[in-house]
Amino acid sequence: MRDMIATRDAYGKALIELGKMNNGIVVLDADLSKSTKTAEFSTAFPKRFFNMGIAEQNMMGVAAGFATAGKIPFVSTFAMFATGRAFEIIRNSIAYPKLNVKICATHAGITVGEDGASHQALEDITCMRAIPNMTVVVPSDAVETTKIIHAVAKLKGPVYVRLGRLAVPVINDNEKYKFELGKGVELIEGNDVTIIATGMMVSEALKASDKLKEQGINAGVVNIHTIKPIDKELIIKKAKETGAMVTVEEHNIIGGLGSAVAEVLIENHPVIMRRIGINDTFGESGKPKDLLEKYKLTANEIVKSTKELIANK
């Protein structure tokens, strides 16, 4: 049985490590520090933690100001409010001047669960990906989260990191895993089809690949943690090798990972493709597990879609 850790928990811990290493790190939150896990940083480094109250727009603007003064602000709130409510401040005050702000938003996706549609950001990748200068990263587990947080702290420029509320399986080995921003990770090799997943759906893709193998189908699995800039080379290579592509994301199929992969394929090496994700609908309240099943974000659904796809091959 794999360990289960939420990426937001790993984020909170990584911030403490960063705080010790670099005095320039400041953390901003909008009255959600216990949920986003920045509260631990606020206890460890009270002078470098700024609660901006329930005012996400100003929080982003203040972060921009911090960055102009040479600080490295990590800004956290729920993904909905970071990328939705404060979108234009991120665009105009952070990304346009290419300021060194790290937007680490938690509670992304439908696995927010019981809070329901108003709190389930399903279009945040789309929104952030469309902004020039922005790097967009989605960790698949706790191990990757830690590595991502350290990597983005070193990167000069704005970054959006998409974190989750739900405890998810730890799929990467902390010792062996060499993380590199912008480089996809081939987790399983397969010659019949490639399943490209991001975030918590990577572990479901791995399970799906196992199930497909039992049925005689060799499905490769690629983890695309960096949605932007996306690893074109690897995507084109896998398209050439397998001739069929399935994308899986806990996000609207419009504008997210599936769209990003399709953009690469259509201009370079078109293959048959299926996008698995939220089908352009709002979420609802429910237990995360029940929602994942209802909205068809499970290994079984990946298996089903993959088989349907390659039947046309």
Binding site: V26, K47, R48, F50, M52, G53, A55, Q57, N58, M60, G61, V62, A63, A64, G65, F66, A67, T68, A69, G70, K71, P73, E88, I89, N92, S93, Y96, P97, K98
Partner: protein, 272 residues
């Protein structure tokens, strides 16, 4: 001998350049640029520690033009101060120019924050001041807002935060000319009583004539004596100040003068 003679000369040159650059570009915002000439002149030629030869000097005082559409007054002032050659002013708003329609900190030497979308510069200035508090340095942050700008909700989020964090190193100036695109503030969306509003948010509020150097400089000095509170300077101004046919006319918010109007405007400034 007028002790503000030098400032007046600078202001007159800045006004001429605003008119000339807007005429050349064919679009832009004269009204709200002209109303803020004395404020920017006082900031750059009397108040702020800046080095035009080293625009990114890390110990400089910061200025954020939150009412970013008044970019012409900022550009004319920066050029007058020597941040870049005055010839650049004639390329305002043209393709490949360093002078964008609204300020771009990446492209223009001396611009401390990219602005244009109202309210956001005020918010960024709060972050700058907060960073400087954290570093316990002497850097002061100045930010200029428009009066219509306070209709943006983010302004009040910022007002709350600057007060909460006791940012006595932050000085806001509000260019209170009373007019916005669709008419007077009062007809579009009432903003008054602004002094009471900012006081209620915990700010030190000073009310001045925004065209009077004595009052402007006195306000900046007074702000330095106030501890643990940010200062809001309500500067009562005249939109289009200095050009008779533009004064107090909301129609000159976002319209460039044509050749004839430019000739008349420059002639008026010659007489000063």
């Amino acid at each position: 001998m007028n002790k503000y003679r030098l400032l007046e000369e600078k202001a007159n040159a800045i006004r001429k350049n605003i008119i000339t650059m807007l005429n050349k570009s064919g679009s832009g915002h004269p009204g709200g640029s002209l109303s803020a000439v004395e404020i920017l002149t006082a900031l750059y030629f009397s108040e702020m520690k800046v080095d035009s030869k080293n625009p990114n000097w890390d110990k400089r005082d910061r200025f954020v033009l939150s009412k970013g559409h008044a970019a012409p007054v900022l550009y004319a002032t920066l050029a007058e101060k020597g941040f870049f050659p005055k010839e650049e002013l004639l390329k305002l708003r043209q393709v490949n120019s360093m002078l964008q329609g609204h300020p771009d900190m990446k492209g223009t030497p001396g611009v401390d924050m990219s602005t244009g979308s109202l309210g956001q510069g005020f918010s960024a200035s709060c972050g700058m001041a907060l960073a400087n508090k954290l570093d316990r340095n002497e850097i002061r942050t100045y930010v200029l807002l428009g009066d219509g700008e306070v209709q943006e909700g983010i302004v009040w989020e910022t007002a709350m935060a600057a007060s909460h964090y006791k940012l006595d190193n932050l000085v806001a100036i509000l260019d209170f000319n009373g007019l916005q695109i669709d008419g007077s503030n009062d007809s579009v969306m009432s903003v008054q009583p602004l002094a009471d509003k900012f006081k209620a948010f915990g700010w030190n509020v000073i009310e001045i004539d925004g065209h009077d150097y004595g009052e402007i400089i006195k306000a900046f000095n007074a702000a330095k004596t106030i501890k643990e509170r940010p200062t809001m300077t309500l500067a009562y101004t005249i939109k289009g100040k200095g050009i008779s046919f533009m004064e107090d006319k909301s129609g000159w918010h976002g319209k460039a003068p044509n050749e004839e109007e430019t000739k008349v405007a420059l002639a008026e400034l010659e007489v000063v």
